[in-house]
Symmetry: C2
Subunit: 341 residues, 2 copies
DNA sequence: ATCCAATATGGAACCGATTTCATCGACAAG
DNA sequence: CTTGTCGATGAAATCGGTTCCATATTGGAT
């Protein structure tokens, strides 16, 4: 069941069949119709491997993520695929499980499959792996890491503005003792978010208490444990920011377990705004990072560079926005605090 | 950067390079070493497309799911990939978004990429699409649908035992008015789960009230709305089973919004046991459907049929198990009910 | 009527691997 | 010393498409 059989049935050459399939203009409507009939009759599906081999383009775009189990990523994957499909391209998903070794495996896969571009939405990226890809002139786009270079695009996230808004929100509710649960500190993205937090606290003129910063793992269990540690301290924060929503959701559980209430006893703010965050109890106030936007920009960045040899790597910036729900409230009235419930 | 250049550098033929890469025994240790050196030096990555074309095996296994946004599936994907990697195979993920049309696109992808097998973990499957694949002798495995035929395996889920356990659990807590929120009724899997529920209720000798069955969409918003409808009725159930955990989580929100409490006012049981269900507040009692087990069986079923032309399609059965958490409790004391809090 | 340009189509090389089959050399047996 | 056997290697066909280049055909201009 290959192109030759189709050609024979339609009484044309394989070249003409190929042209018909690819919508080349140089085929008579009549001939094209005959070919289409033959394809239909034989239930012919062109072999993607042969196609890629012959044409040099795989129509495949790689998407490397850290953890498919974190809802942030499936939502990103979905959006990325949606855009890719619009352009008639396919997506190859690879996840690293936050493991630098697996990252190498992922890159190898991309190289072997001859993808037309790679979106790297994770930060455990090794310099030499980047070289491996960029030296082969594969368009790349990073999420919030990486230096924009020739053929390499970068999507920066304006953490400062997002986290400033969160801190401002808490501050306006009377909170001064604000804690933070970070992601795993060996991840660049986690470090960047944490730095944005400390900077923001300083900018607001609040006191930065290192005792109120704990490390999580970007998953629920890590958030749970980190919050437990925070609650065990002598001086508790009245509000806590987290490095992502999963962490916040885990943290929320730890708070309830102590018989405390959100936001009455502790206000909580997440980061990402995954779909789930609208359904927690209470709804999670968070800083939204639009997956649709990231996915769209990422794909377009790759596609443009690929199709348009002239296009060079570009720099984009995403603005996160504060989404106020029910997990934040005025600091509880204590000793005549000025923000009674 | 192809096999020829490697051959030239190592001063051997391309055949020998190919043999070395594939670990064929007929290569002297010395020669193999020289080839490996050359590969290393040139940073050569064999072209998967050419490889698949030449050998007739793609080492790719397809995994078709309904909704990557439902945490059940990412967990399944992860497990499936883990097993595949152990066997040196790759995974091609495709999701249908519950849309039969997209399903056709997914199958086309599989056919074009010449996958070595397809795991169909979704039920919006058209008979003719199955034929399309099975007539090409592609090993298939279905999750809980499909008739086991030659080369087609099926993983059945013993809903009866899982849902019986759930109903028994509620019954022993004194519940008699048990509601159900189903998945979208155009999905086979949703219908099967609903039927398991009604059967179970009948077997327990409880009264089946069609008024207490509402339709959701297997997502949080659907669960939320369905529960809202249930709560608006004159006679409310004291306990509700849902078709999956996402539905239960959405439902929980609707309950809280009315100022009611779980499990005090309403007991809630989910289905799947996604990771999240241990972190809801209160923890969700649910019926666990092991993704690891499903993924492992699914991949092995495909791999065995592929590698072992003799192996025919097989039938497997998965036993779900009840996980008791905090979302179920005795029916609230009313008019001297016999199960006071 | 003649010639040219434009257009549709076919032939064949090519993409980069795998794999069959032939060959070569070495070593053991006679 | 010759011959048979076996193991390592290479040459070339092959997989199923794409695409360059050549050719045939058509219609319009002169």
């Amino acid at each position: 069941m290959n192109i030759k059989e189709v050609a024979r049935l339609a009484k044309v050459s394989t070249a003409t069949v190929s042209r018909t399939i690819n919508g080349s203009e140089k085929v008579t409507a009549e001939t094209a119709e005959r070919v289409r009939q033959a394809i239909e009759t034989l239930k012919f599906y062109p072999n993607t491997n042969a196609r890629a081999l012959g044409s040099g383009r795989s129509s495949l775009y790689g998407l490397i993520i850290s953890d498919i189990t974190n809802p942030f990523f499936p939502e990103l994957v979905k959006s990325f695929e949606d855009v890719a499909v619009q352009f008639g391209q396919e997506v190859l998903i690879a996840n690293t499980n936050y493991d630098p070794h697996r990252m190498e495996v992922c890159v190898t896969r991309m190289l072997q499959r001859k993808v037309d571009g790679v979106a790297i939405m994770t930060s455990e990226m090794d310099e030499h792996l980047i070289d491996e890809m960029s030296s082969r002139r594969i368009p790349l786009v990073f999420l919030d890491t990486g230096t924009p270079q020739k053929g390499i695009s970068n999507i920066a996230i304006d953490y400062a503005s997002g986290i400033d808004a969160a801190v401002e929100h808490l501050s306006s509710l009377g909170h001064t003792a604000i804690g933070f649960i970070s992601g795993p500190m060996d991840l660049t993205s986690a470090r960047v978010r944490r730095r944005a937090f400390t900077n923001s606290i300083k900018r607001k003129g609040l006191k930065l208490d290192r005792n109120m910063i704990e490390e999580g793992n970007h998953r629920m269990d890590g958030g749970h444990e980190a919050m437990a540690r925070l609650l065990d301290k002598e001086v508790r924060p009245t509000a806590v920011l987290t490095s992502n929503d999963m962490t916040a959701i885990g943290a929320m559980g730890a708070i309830f377990e102590r018989g405390l209430k959100v936001p009455h006893d502790i206000s909580l703010i997440g980061f990402d705004d995954i779909e789930l965050s609208a359904f927690t109890q209470p709804g999670l106030t968070t800083v939204r990072l639009s997956r649709q936007e990231i996915a769209k920009i990422a794909f377009r960045a790759l596609y443009d560079v690929k199709e348009n040899a002239s296009a060079k790597g570009a720099e984009f910036t995403i603005q996160p926005t504060l989404i106020e729900r029910k997990s934040t409230g005025p600091v509880a009235a204590r000793r005549g605090g000025k923000h009674p419930v």
